[in-house]
C-alpha cells in the first residue's frame, strides 16, 4: 500500500500565534474575549465598590413591597396596595397598548400619505409633502407636548355638558363624549356573560371575549374549508359553485348568535359628578401620545412607502397591463408584492422606533413602564440600579421579540433568489 507522506508538519512555535494566519485569528479572539471580560469585571468591581461606599446593595425585594401610588389607566386590577411588581406590569401593558395602537395608526396614515404624495393632484401632493416634512423635522417630544396642549385647550370641559345651557353636546348620537380630559366611547357589556377567569390569581381574563374569539376562529376555519372544497370542485368540473353566502354566514352568524345569547349591549358614557362615567375612557395622555407617535412615525413610513412604490419599475406595470390585468389586480398582484419587499425591513425599524419613543410618555403623564417602574417606583424606593436594569430588560425584550416576529415575516415575503 502506498502512502503519500505529504509536506513535513512544522513544529509549533509561539511566534506562530501572531505570524501564522491559521492561529492568528484565534489569538485575536482570545485577546478580545479577555479584554471584554476584563472590562466587565472592571465595571462590576467599580459598581460593588461604589455601592459599598454609598451603603447600598443590589436587592430586588422592593418589588414585593406595596407600591402606595395610584395609576389612572390600568388594564389589569391594581390598587395602591398592590406591589411594585404589579405596578410595573400595569405600566408594561400600557406601553404595549400605546405601541400597538401607534403602529396600526402610523401604518394606515403612512401608507395613505405615501400614496397621496405620489398623487397627480398637485395640491394634495404638496400638502402631503408639507405634512411629512413638518412631522419629520420637529422632535417627537415636542409633538407629544403639542398634541397634549391642543387637546386640553380646544376640547370642551366636562361641565360644559352639564345643565340646561350646556355649551357642548356629545357626538355620534349621544354615544361619544369628547372632553379635554379624554374621549369617552361606549363599552361593550354583557348582561348574562360568563364572567372572568382568574389565571393563577394574577390576571382576570374575560371569558366572553375568549368565547367570542373561539367562535369566530372556528367560523373562519370552516369557511376556509368550504372555499377549498369549492376550488376543488372547480378544478374537477370547471364550474365554481357559489359559496360566498355560506362562507359569510359561517363567519357572521355564530358570533352574532353568541352575542345575543350573552345579552350584548353598549354601555354609554354619562355625566355623573365631576366626570363622565361608564364607557371606555381614553385619556388625554394616551390620545396625545398615540397621535403624536403615529403622526411622527407616519411621516417616516410615508417616505418608505413612496420609495417602495417608486422602486418597482414602470415596466412591471406595463407588463401586467399587456397580460391583460386590470389596474386593481396589477396593484395587488404585481406592484405591491414587489414594493412590500422594499418596504418591510425599514418598516420594522420604524415600528421599533415607535415602541421605544413611547417611553417619552412621561412628558404627558401617561403611565407606561417608564412612568411606573422607571419613574415613581425608582423615585419612591431609591433603587436606581435595579429599576433601570429591569426597565432596559423590558424594552430589550419587546424590541427583540417584535423584530424576531417581523423578521420571520420578512423572510417569508423575501424574494427567493436563484
Amino acid at each position: 500500500m502506498l502512502t503519500n507522506p505529504g509536506p513535513q508538519k512544522p513544529g509549533f512555535r509561539l511566534s506562530m500565534l501572531i505570524n501564522d494566519s491559521r492561529y492568528r485569528s484565534m489569538t485575536i479572539q482570545v485577546v478580545a474575549l479577555m479584554g471584554f471580560m476584563l472590562l466587565i469585571a472592571w465595571l462590576i468591581n467599580n459598581t460593588i465598590q461604589n455601592l459599598n461606599a454609598l451603603g447600598k446593595d443590589v436587592d430586588f425585594s422592593f418589588l414585593g413591597q406595596p407600591a402606595s401610588y395610584d395609576i389612572n389607566q390600568r388594564l389589569i386590577e391594581y390598587t395602591s396596595r398592590s406591589t411594585h411588581l404589579r405596578a410595573s406590569v400595569v405600566g408594561l401593558l400600557n406601553t404595549l397598548l400605546v405601541a400597538t395602537m401607534g403602529c396600526v395608526l402610523a401604518t394606515v396614515i403612512g401608507v395613505l400619505v405615501g400614496v397621496l404624495r405620489l398623487s397627480k393632484n398637485w395640491l394634495v401632493a404638496r400638502l402631503m409633502t408639507v405634512f411629512v416634512e413638518m412631522f419629520r423635522n420637529v422632535p417627537v417630544l415636542l409633538w407629544i407636548v403639542f398634541f397634549m396642549v391642543i387637546l386640553i385647550e380646544t376640547l370642551p370641559r366636562p361641565r360644559d355638558f352639564r345643565g340646561e345651557d350646556a355649551t357642548a353636546t356629545m357626538s355620534l348620537w349621544d354615544s361619544v363624549a369628547l372632553t379635554n380630559r379624554g374621549i369617552y366611547v361606549p363599552e361593550p357589556l354583557f348582561s348574562n356573560g360568563f364572567g372572568d377567569l382568574s389565571i393563577f390569581g394574577l390576571f382576570d381574563v374575560s371569558l366572553d371575549l375568549f368565547a367570542l374569539l373561539a367562535v369566530l376562529g372556528i367560523g373562519i376555519f370552516i369557511a376556509r374549508k368550504v372555499r377549498q372544497r369549492a376550488l376543488a370542485i372547480q378544478a374537477a368540473t370547471g364550474t365554481l359553485p357559489t359559496t360566498w353566502y355560506i362562507r359569510l354566514s359561517l363567519i357572521v352568524v355564530p358570533p352574532v348568535a353568541l352575542l345575543t345569547y350573552l345579552g350584548f349591549h353598549l354601555g354609554y358614557p354619562e355625566l355623573k359628578g365631576f366626570n363622565f362615567s361608564g364607557g371606555i375612557h381614553m385619556r388625554n395622555s394616551l390620545i396625545a401620545l398615540w397621535l403624536a407617535l403615529s403622526f411622527y412615525t407616519a411621516a417616516f413610513i410615508a417616505e418608505i412607502v413612496r420609495a417602495g412604490i417608486t422602486s418597482v419599475s414602470k415596466g412591471q406595470t406595463e407588463a401586467a397591463y399587456s397580460l391583460g390585468l386590470r389596474p386593481g389586480l396589477t396593484m395587488s398582484l404585481v406592484i405591491l408584492p414587489q414594493a412590500l419587499r422594499v418596504i418591510i425591513p425599514p418598516l420594522i425599524s420604524q415600528f421599533l422606533n415607535l415602541t421605544k419613543n413611547s417611553s417619552l410618555a412621561i412628558a404627558v403623564g401617561y403611565m407606561d413602564v417608564t412612568g411606573t417602574l422607571g419613574g415613581i417606583t425608582l423615585n419612591q424606593t431609591g433603587r436606581e440600579l435595579e429599576t433601570i436594569l429591569l426597565l432596559m430588560l423590558c424594552y430589550l425584550f419587546i424590541s427583540l421579540s417584535v423584530s424576531a416576529v417581523l423578521n420571520w415575516y420578512n423572510n417569508r415575503v423575501k424574494l427567493v433568489e436563484r
Binding site: 476584563l38 469585571a41 472592571w42 468591581n45 454609598l54 451603603g55 402606595s68 401610588y69 395610584d70 395609576i71 389612572n72 390598587t79 395602591s80 396596595r81 396642549v149 386640553i152 385647550e153 370641559r157 366636562p158 361641565r159 379635554n180 380630559r181 355623573k272 359628578g273 365631576f274 366626570n275 362615567s277 385619556r283 388625554n284 395622555s285 412621561i362 412628558a363 403623564g365 403611565m367 412612568g371 419613574g375 415613581i376 425608582l378 423615585n379 419612591q380 431609591g382 436606581e384
Partner: protein, 338 residues
C-alpha cells in the same frame, strides 16, 4: 495578574476630575464655590431670570451658605434638578447641598441616607379647585380628576387620603408645576394638589384668583428643608447653622441693612456671639468669625428672604402662617446660639 495594574492605568488615564472626600468644606473651599441643587423652575422658590441668574426662596438659602463660607454670595453654582434626579445627584456628590423644597421623611433620612438640616418652610398638602364646582371640602371629591406632581410625596399622601376615606379619584400625573397649571386652568383636572404654598402661588398668579378656592383640609405634614449627604457632620453643621442663623437674625431684628451697625454696637450677647464679635464660634466649625454676619448681609434674615420672594407683597402673596417665628405664633424656633 495584570488586572489591578490595568485598572489603575485605566482609572488614571481616563477619568480624573475630582475626588469626593469626606471633608466637604475643604473641597468646597478648594473649588471656590458651593454647588447647590435647586428646582428646575418653581415660581418664587427657584427660577432663572433672563440673564441666567437664579432667584427664589430656596436659592437665597444657597447664597447665604456661600456667603457664610466665602463671604461672597455669588460663590455659588446652581444645578437644576428634577424630582427624580435630586437624590442621586446629592448621593453622588455632584452637589454639596440640596435646597429644593424637599420633604423631610423617615425613609429619606434613614434609607436614602441624607441629613436634613432643619425646616425652612412648614408646608402641608392641600387641594385647590375651581369655585364653580361648588366643592367646599376635600371629602366631597369622590370621583374627581386630580392633577399631581410625580416624584414627590404628594402622590403617596393622595393615595392614602382617598383610600382612608374610601373615595375614588382619577390621578393625572405631571412632571412640572408649569404643566400642572396648564391642565388645571383648562379644567382638564378638577383639583390640583400640591403643597399649599404652591397652591397659593398658582392661585395668586392666575388670571382670576377669585374663581379658585383652596380647600380647608391639609392632608399631610410637609416640612421642607435643605439637606446634605450623610457622612460629613462638619459640613452638615455649617449648613444647619446657616439656616438657624437666618432664623435667629429675624428673632433678634438683624437685617441686611443693620447688620454692620449691630456688629459695632450691640448689647445683646447672643447677637454678639452670632456676629462674631464675641467668642470664637466661627473657628469651631471651620469658618471665619463673621460668617453669620456675611450670610445675613448677603440675603437678609429669614423674614426678609421670605418677604422678598414669596411674601404678601410679591405676586405669590403667601402669609407667614406656620412659618412665623414662635414668638408670633408660628413654628420657627432655632436652638440658641451659644
Amino acid at each position: 495578574m495584570n488586572y489591578r495594574r490595568l485598572m489603575a492605568v485605566a482609572a488614571v488615564a481616563g477619568l480624573v476630575s475630582g475626588v469626593a472626600g469626606a471633608a466637604t468644606l475643604d473641597d468646597v473651599k478648594a473649588k471656590g464655590f458651593v454647588q447647590c441643587g435647586v428646582n428646575t423652575g418653581l415660581v418664587g422658590f427657584a427660577a432663572p431670570d433672563a440673564d441666567g441668574n437664579w432667584t427664589g426662596f430656596d436659592v437665597d438659602y444657597c447664597r447665604a451658605l456661600a456667603a457664610a463660607v466665602f463671604g461672597d454670595a455669588e460663590a455659588v453654582k446652581f444645578t437644576p434638578l428634577t424630582g427624580k434626579t435630586r437624590f442621586t445627584a446629592l448621593a453622588a456628590g455632584e452637589i454639596d447641598v440640596l435646597s429644593r423644597n424637599t420633604t423631610w421623611t423617615y425613609s429619606r433620612d434613614v434609607d436614602l441616607k441624607f441629613t436634613f438640616l432643619g425646616i425652612n418652610y412648614y408646608d402641608g398638602q392641600g387641594f385647590m379647585t375651581h369655585r364653580s364646582l361648588g366643592v367646599d371640602s376635600a371629602l366631597d371629591l369622590d370621583g374627581a380628576t386630580i392633577c399631581i406632581q410625580t416624584g414627590t410625596t404628594t402622590e403617596l399622601n393622595l393615595a392614602d387620603f382617598f383610600r382612608a376615606n374610601n373615595m375614588s379619584y382619577e390621578p393625572v400625573p405631571i412632571e412640572t408645576n408649569a404643566e400642572a397649571r396648564e391642565l388645571f386652568f383648562a379644567e382638564a383636572c378638577d383639583v390640583y394638589t400640591t403643597d399649599r404654598s404652591g397652591l397659593a402661588a398658582t392661585r395668586a398668579t392666575s388670571e382670576d384668583p377669585d374663581s379658585l378656592v383652596v380647600l380647608p383640609e391639609v392632608v399631610s405634614k410637609e416640612p421642607l428643608g435643605p439637606l446634605v449627604a450623610h457622612g460629613d457632620d462638619q459640613w452638615a453643621d455649617i449648613a444647619r447653622w446657616v439656616l438657624n442663623a437666618l432664623i435667629i437674625a429675624e428673632e433678634k431684628g438683624l437685617t441686611a441693612a443693620n447688620v454692620d451697625s449691630m456688629m459695632a454696637n450691640t448689647n445683646d450677647p447672643e447677637v454678639a456671639r452670632l456676629l462674631g464679635t464675641e467668642g470664637e464660634y466661627g473657628a469651631m466649625v471651620g469658618l471665619s468669625s463673621d460668617w453669620a454676619a456675611n450670610a445675613i448681609r448677603a440675603t437678609g434674615n429669614y423674614g426678609e428672604i421670605f418677604d422678598r420672594h414669596i411674601g404678601p407683597d410679591t405676586a405669590i402673596g403667601l402669609s407667614r402662617g406656620l412659618n412665623a417665628l414662635y414668638t408670633d405664633g408660628g413654628l420657627l424656633y432655632s436652638p440658641p446660639f451659644r
